[in-house]
């Protein structure tokens, strides 16, 4: 039985871990071995490993092993490892999963180390708070990103339409995407279907002055809100301005695998921090622009911690782990290596330094953030436990609508039923 085998492996892993765990260095400054994991692509791996190498050169008594996966498999592997008693020491964490893990007491409270082992003098103090839950600093924001439209300027120009710019509306987007798609005889879609993506929905909600989650952790929107959003996505489909059903993919698959990355779409909702991934498969072909918005005041985007970094509560090498965290966040040389690969560096001095010498991907990301900065809001509280499930649920129920398996109303019924169960 597969499940039993899996459980067997877990137990095996637990035994191995408990048997071998005694060797790790515990004394401050003594030799230590730590494991650092993150999600990302090869591009990010190269830079991160380079930074880790520098860290090891400076701390010859600390050995760091690293591994990475894509977003989806990352969290599956992480949960298994933690359950098996084999948790990595330094863990890249997602805003969406912060409550999921911190709520289960697996992340170390870094509050005592703030301003000491982890330097915070050069930080936007509000931004530090995005790693805080119930007054515990369970993570440090690693970098800042924001939602963006990634697009192919050539296709916009060929169709004779303007590129995304602040002030454009959803109607504008639909019209332009429709023209691009017509120009390319439906072989390249004008936009990527966004109806199943919670990130897009959140930004759209914020443009209308609402939130994904209320302060008490319940859903911050009603059936009518989601209905209007799904209707908007349907309007794009009806206007032949978006990808066909079989391309209903997600951001999770990675920028390389998305319709824009595969040149099947001219534009899509994304994050600026994913630009490196796009650039790997379509070098120097794409640009970043702001979300369309029907509100003059709000883009809906906010200063989001693109990733956070946590230390396992069960680490056997606490000091070494915290040292690595501080190095990645605050060291000028580490900042130089990492650039804007994860978004804008959280340390403002490092950010300033990186912005002095911008090339390629980093330049595109920095310039985009600069162009929208005045319109960015502060990050909302981290989503509650269950949001990970709701994220997938939205994708799935929307797929059922797109493939004509369910009407929007039926899908809404199912969505709210399951979403409330996931939050309970």
């Amino acid at each position: 039985m597969k499940a039993h085998k899996v459980v067997g492996l877990l137990i095996g892993a637990a035994l191995v871990a408990s048997g071998c765990g005694g060797g790790g260095g515990t004394a401050s400054g003594g030799p230590a071995e730590i494991k650092f994991v993150w999600w990302g692509n090869d591009d990010r791996a190269k830079l991160t490993n380079e930074a880790v190498k520098l860290f090891q050169e400076r701390n010859s008594n600390i050995k760091v092993t690293t591994s990475f996966q894509n977003f989806q498999t990352y969290f599956e592997k992480l949960s298994t490892e933690i359950a098996g008693g084999n948790a990595p020491d330094v863990i890249q964490m997602d805003y969406r999963y912060l409550n999921e893990y911190a709520g289960r007491n697996v992340l170390l409270d870094l509050t005592p180390n703030l301003g000491k082992e982890i330097r915070t003098a050069d930080w936007n103090q509000g931004f530090i708070g995005s790693g805080k839950l119930n007054n515990k600093q369970v993570a440090m924001p690693l970098a800042q990103n924001a939602t963006a439209i990634a697009y192919d300027p050539k296709l916009f120009a060929d169709a004779g339409v303007e590129e995304p710019a602040i002030g454009w509306t959803w109607q504008d987007y639909k019209d332009r995407a429709g023209k691009i798609q017509a120009k390319n005889e439906n072989k390249i879609a004008g936009s990527t279907d966004f109806g199943g993506t919670e990130d897009v929905f959140e930004t759209w909600l914020r443009q209308r002055g609402k939130k994904l989650y209320a302060d008490d952790g319940k859903l911050g929107y009603t059936k009518d809100d989601l209905k209007a959003f799904w209707q908007l996505s349907k309007d794009f489909r009806d206007a032949k301005a978006t990808t066909p059903p079989e391309l209903v993919t997600t951001l999770n698959a990675g920028a390389e695998q998305s319709p824009l990355g595969k040149k099947l779409s001219a534009s899509e909702h994304s994050y600026d921090s994913l630009f490196g991934g796009y650039n790997t498969v379509r070098p120097n072909e794409l640009k970043l622009g702001p979300y369309p918005s029907d509100s003059k005041d709000s883009l809906g985007s906010y200063r989001k911690p693109s990733q956070l970094i946590s230390v396992s509560a069960r680490t056997k090498a606490k000091d070494a782990s915290i040292k690595l965290v501080d190095f990645l966040l605050n060291d000028p040389d580490a900042g130089k290596i990492l650039g804007a690969n994860r978004g804008l560096p959280a340390n403002l001095k490092v950010r300033e330094q990186v912005s002095q010498n911008l090339t390629g991907t980093n330049k595109v990301i920095f310039e985009y953030e600069k162009s929208v900065d005045a319109k960015l809001g502060d990050a909302p509280a981290a989503p509650p436990k269950g949001d990970g499930a709701i994220y997938k649920l939205m994708q799935r129920t929307h797929e059922e609508v797109v493939f004509g398996k369910k009407s929007i109303d039926q899908a809404l019924e199912d969505f709210f039923g399951e979403a409330e169960r996931a939050l309970s």
């Binding site: 067997g8 137990i11 498999t73 079989e246 209903v248 799935r396």
Partner: protein
């Protein structure tokens, strides 16, 4: 699979009949010594985790914290409060009902064909047809399949069919067993039938298939059990989501999602036990029906 070792195909019988009766063994300790590596594995990696998972299925275990006893709650909720569970049962039953007969028919057909070849040709084609099964469980093959049938696997109506075809294509294992069974059928019996004027079809239905029925039964049981546990192909082809629109939400895939992405390991354990019981019941039913259609050579 452990089962291959226990349920040996019946033709072995004819060999056993000729063997001398077994001497009573005084030193069973030696036997256990030799069995020890297997026993350790079986107890440490199969029995013990199963017992743990049975216990967990009655708890709210979430992977990280100490499990609390919740009685049969997990089991009740599966059937009363979860439309996706029923969807996953439906998908899996459809998969089993179509893929098992399809795979066995293909395996039998190819085995009959190969059996009519002799010499090098048989060896070559046997290997060639077996190759996909060797690669079968590999992620790489499923990825290739995903790339080839790109549009199909992204359409809810075709996604499951694609996975069924992928599984049917990997008919090598039952084929080899069929082939072995076919080669056990006494040549003189077929010759006698031919002399009596029986044509190819007549020989097939009156001699070959009845003589082969124990092997067919063996393959049927094994493939049914395998099909219920199908995971890898569906996981890879659907990108781990059982999509699009839950059309390939296999039971095992949902179980995995429950346990490892929703952290509801108690509920996932309950699902595993329901699956185990269902497989056991279906296997028992197959064994009951076997007396009506499986022919062992020694019967009159």
């Amino acid at each position: 699979m452990v089962l291959t070792e226990r349920v040996a195909p019946a033709p072995v019988k004819s060999v056993a009949e000729g063997a001398p009766p077994r001497r009573p063994n005084k030193s069973q300790g030696v036997a256990y010594l030799f069995l020890a590596p297997w026993l350790l594995g079986a107890i440490g990696l199969t029995v013990a985790p199963m017992v743990v998972s049975l216990y967990l299925s009655f708890t709210d275990y979430d992977l990280f914290n100490t499990p609390n006893w919740v009685g049969v709650d997990n089991y009740v909720k599966l059937f009363s409060d979860d439309p996706r569970y029923l969807q996953s049962v439906g998908v899996t039953l459809r998969y089993v009902a179509v893929s098992v007969p399809l795979k066995l028919l293909l395996a039998l057909g190819v085995a009959l064909l190969l059996n009519s070849l002799r010499g090098l040709g048989q060896a070559f084609f046997r290997s060639a047809f077996y190759a996909p099964s060797l690669l079968g469980a590999s992620v790489g093959l499923a990825l290739a399949w995903r790339a080839i049938f790109d549009t199909w696997v992204d359409t809810p109506d075709m996604a499951l069919t694609t996975i069924i075809l992928l599984s049917a294509w990997q008919f090598g294992a039952p084929m080899v067993i069929f082939l072995a069974g076919l080669q056990q059928i006494p040549r003189d019996m077929l010759d006698a039938a031919e002399v009596d004027g029986a044509g190819w079809w007549r020989r097939l239905f009156s001699i070959v298939l009845p003589m082969l029925s124990p092997v067919m039964f063996f393959n049927l049981v094994l493939e049914t059990i395998h099909a219920f546990q199908a995971f890898t192909q569906a996981f890879v082809v659907s990108g781990g989501r059982g999509g699009p629109a839950d059309s390939t939400l296999f039971y095992t895939l949902y179980l995995y999602e429950r346990g490892f992405t929703e952290f509801r390991m108690g509920s996932a354990s309950a699902m595993a036990w329901v699956l185990l019981v269902v497989i056991a019941v279906i296997t028992a039913v197959l064994f009951r029906t076997s007396r009506y259609w499986v022919f062992y050579g020694d019967e009159r």
